[in-house]
């Protein structure tokens, strides 16, 4: 691990409480309020903004370093995920636990893909649009978008109809899914490792 990376990682970690403290401090103030308050509040607001900006740039730099540098990745992520490879047996068990985690994560991802692609809707149509005298329609769709598209039109169309039951993809944000998967990876690996070490 390069000395610069090590230093920046420390700055990132020690800066975290400062960023949190700043976030708590500025919570009651917005840009206008702080501008009107003047004095030390305005100075602190500006300084906090600078610290937060620097911390954001640092976090992007470190996450890119994690991708491109194998050594940095191993040093940092091994600590975060509590990976211990003190001898050959632990190396083998780490491999088995990693395999188990990878396969379960893949299974979860496939399940999430199904949930995010499938759309189910049960709605009532107007009597003039009835099909064979039936006004209750069950609509099934598979929707896959590589890019996030604006589905406002489709939503408005759905809202105009009398929806009884409607399901259109995962009701959670992509950030929540990513965070959930990160936490899952760490928990799953450690659970598998503990089971194998017994």
């Amino acid at each position: 691990m390069r000395k610069l990376d090590s230093l920046l990682l420390r700055v990132f970690l020690y800066g975290l409480p400062i960023v949190i403290a700043f976030a708590v401090f500025v919570y009651p103030y917005d840009l206008e309020t702080s501008d009107r308050a003047g004095g030390y509040i305005k100075a602190l607001y500006n300084f906090g903004g600078f610290v937060f900006g620097a911390w954001m740039i640092l976090s992007i730099y470190l996450s890119v370093r994690l991708i491109v540098s194998g050594l940095f990745r191993e040093k940092v992520l091994a600590k975060i995920t509590f990976i211990k490879e003190r001898d050959e047996r632990e190396e083998i068990l780490t491999g088995k636990a990693a395999k188990s985690t990878m396969l379960t994560s893949l299974a979860i991802l496939l399940f999430l893909l199904c949930l995010s692609c499938f759309q189910v809707s049960v709605y009532s149509e107007r009597p003039e649009k009835a099909i064979d005298g039936k006004t209750t329609i069950v609509s099934l769709n598979v929707n896959f978008n590589a890019l996030q598209s604006n589905q406002q039109g489709e939503l408005e169309e759905l809202l105009q109809k009398e929806n009884m039951v409607s399901y259109s993809g995962l009701p959670v944000s992509s950030s929540a899914v990513i965070l959930g998967l990160i936490i899952w990876q760490i928990i799953s690996y450690n659970f598998s490792m503990r089971r194998l070490l017994k």
């Binding site: 003190r86 001898d87 050959e88 047996r89 632990e90 070490l197």
Partner: protein
């Protein structure tokens, strides 16, 4: 061919060698450069060491590797 595919069981006499040399699992682990859990696992038959580790153990006890580890066919 069927004989070669039969399940083999590795028998080790590590605990006997250790007792003869009056050395604890912890001490042996330190000397060999592994964790105590690995020595426990080898002695209990839960883990078969790599060739390298097997030779390191044999060298430590100044024994032939065949005296330390042997193979027998597992009955079904």
């Amino acid at each position: 061919m069927a004989k070669l595919a039969a399940q083999l069981k590795i028998i080790n006499r590590l605990h006997i060698f250790r007792a003869e040399h009056r050395i604890t699992q912890e001490q042996l682990a330190k000397e060999i450069g592994v964790t105590r859990a690995t020595i426990v696992a080898i002695e209990g038959g839960g883990y078969n060491p790599s060739l390298e580790l097997a030779f390191r153990l044999a060298r430590y006890f100044k024994a032939d590797i065949n005296d330390l580890f042997s193979v027998e066919e597992e009955s079904k």
